[in-house]
């Protein structure tokens, strides 16, 4: 900056004073955000870990019981089922969201009439409150009056109504489908933004070199899109893994816990069942998975940069 450097030449001591005041000012400016985040984010995070080691219940402060909650969960088949469900839900929904989202992004990247209209409309599932669209899915999946069952019956594809949410396998597929429906727009629009930054000349050059359409995609589009794919999918995986609303609306974890995710189990045990300590322990058990996902994508990106000869 021009001003400090001039000042430094004439009066050296002013430099430290400026730095000091910059720090003081920075501290003052950060204060509101930092205070809110420390009190309502960092502290509860620590409190959550602590609660996981206590037998706190609603209306009764607990005492430290060590890893008893975790020991109990370790031998609890419902907890392990919820871990399995969460992983299944996250992996299958994320893969579907990625494939379909990329496909939609590639379509929207084509020359189309009313392109900005399509782009706007496609985002709607992502904008609307999840709970409210989940209620619409609840009605679509209704056991008696499901429009899907009716339509398939009319087409002669099935001969009896599908029990979407009452059967474990169907229920899992149904909640995954609803999650994918809501997630496609986010993936598609962010990947579309990435696609639009790829220079057209690269495709022209590759075409002149005789690249096929698959080769164009594999060796031009995909490598240039990788960083944004990594970031988008990290966010998508994190939000899918910690999903709560969709399950709470559609199945509440049923039938027979087949769709219980760790977040919904944590709510059921912690808030509905009043066992705050145990609920907190389930929530804490999610943290290693989240950290693994973040580190995986972080180091994945690092390695790429290093391979490309980037500085840091």
């Amino acid at each position: 900056m021009a001003v400090p450097s001039v000042a430094v030449q004439t009066r050296p001591s002013i430099r430290s004073r400026l730095a000091e005041s910059r720090n003081a000012l920075g501290f003052g400016f950060m204060l509101p955000a930092a205070a809110l985040l420390l009190v309502f984010l960092t502290y509860p995070l620590g409190l959550g870990v602590w609660l996981g080691f206590t037998d706190t219940r609603i209306g009764r402060p607990g005492i430290f019981i060590g890893v008893e909650n975790y020991e109990y969960l370790w031998s609890d088949s419902v907890f392990w089922l919820s871990v399995f469900n969460t992983l299944l839900y996250t992996v299958s929904a994320s893969i579907l969201k990625f494939v379909l989202g990329l496909w939609l992004a590639l379509i929207l990247n084509e020359k189309l009439p009313f392109k900005s209209f399509f782009r706007a409309v496609v985002l709607l599932p992502w904008v609307v409150p999840t709970v409210l669209s989940a209620i619409a899915f609840w009605w679509i999946y209704d056991s008696q009056f499901s429009i899907l069952s009716w339509a398939l019956q009319q087409m002669g594809l099935i001969d009896h109504r599908i029990n979407f949410l009452g059967d474990p396998t169907n229920a899992r597929a149904s909640v995954i489908a609803a999650n994918v429906w809501r997630g496609i727009p986010f993936v598609a629009i962010t990947l579309l933004a990435g696609l639009q930054t790829i220079p057209q000349s690269l495709y022209e050059a590759a075409t002149l070199d005789g690249a096929s359409r698959w080769q164009l995609f594999r060796y031009v589009t995909l490598p240039l899109l990788t960083p944004i794919i990594a970031i988008t999918m990290t966010f998508s995986v994190l939000f899918t893994f910690t999903d709560f609303q969709l399950i709470y609306v559609l199945t509440r974890g049923g039938p027979v816990n087949a769709t219980h995710l760790m977040a919904t189990l944590s709510f059921q045990r912690g808030i509905a069942g009043g066992q705050l300590g145990e609920g907190a322990a389930i929530a804490v058990a999610m943290i290693p998975f989240l950290l693994a996902a973040i580190l995986f994508s972080y180091f994945g990106l690092q390695r790429r940069r290093w391979q490309q000869g980037g500085g840091d």
Binding site: F29, G48, P129, F145, W181, F235, F244
Partner: protein
Amino acid sequence: MAAIKEVERLETDEGGMGYLQSLPRRVVTVYLPLLVFLIVLLFPFYWMTITAVKPNIEMTDYVNYNPFWVVHPTLEHIRYLLLETSYPGWLLNTIIISTAATFLSLAAAVLAAYAIERLRFSGARQVGLAVFLAYLVPPSILFIPLSVMVFNLGLYDTPFALILTYPTFLIPFCTWLLMGYFRSIPFELEECALIDGASRWQILTKIVLPLSVPGLISAGIFAFTLSWNEFIYALTFIQSSEKKTVPVGVLTELVRSDVYEWGALMAGALIGSLPVVVLYSFFVEHYVSSMTGAVKE
């Protein structure tokens, strides 16, 4: 896996090489899949709307009436929703809570983003990273300890429980978005103002903020939408029926164990979605560009 094969065939040629594709080929690779995507993505909204205006008789009689259409549209469900339930109150609660949380977060985020991006105090980089990490902490991990805190602070079942906790996910998001915006404002402008003797506060309010109005608008819309859509905190921290927000109210109060009022439920979902959709449609270009911008950062 069929999708992957489609992607292979579907390489993109914006502008330049589009003429290499024949029309029939484009219909199969572009228009048809786009049509299917649009139908699937928009059908739930159509179904929501049609159910909201359908009389109960048509709703459960698929033999005499085609369920995809409504023969005698009715406003009965909407009337019931607005006059005989607490729905208008939930709407008002949601508006108040979302607006308050948005302005609180935006104010804090503007100051934080300016400090991190432009004051460059020692440790600014680390603080910026911490803010980003704070965004990755999901509410489903925090709601149990927060409920204990909210209870101990005497905030349980008050709007303040939500107004004070929503900033935990709004501030990191807005700060991150605004940092990107502030970065695009030329340093020279600030230097000129510094030479003219402006204080940092004057620079922020008279130079940086007027230049970042688009960024402020998108951050504000995002924050408002996120608070409007929030569910798990509102479900956990609010108990009284009349204090609930729209998503929680519709789910917990309109659903009775014996009878599902599908018409009223769909009307509630539809009306609850309208404000964010309207807000979004006004600013869709801001929205899309800043969403992609925020992800790219």
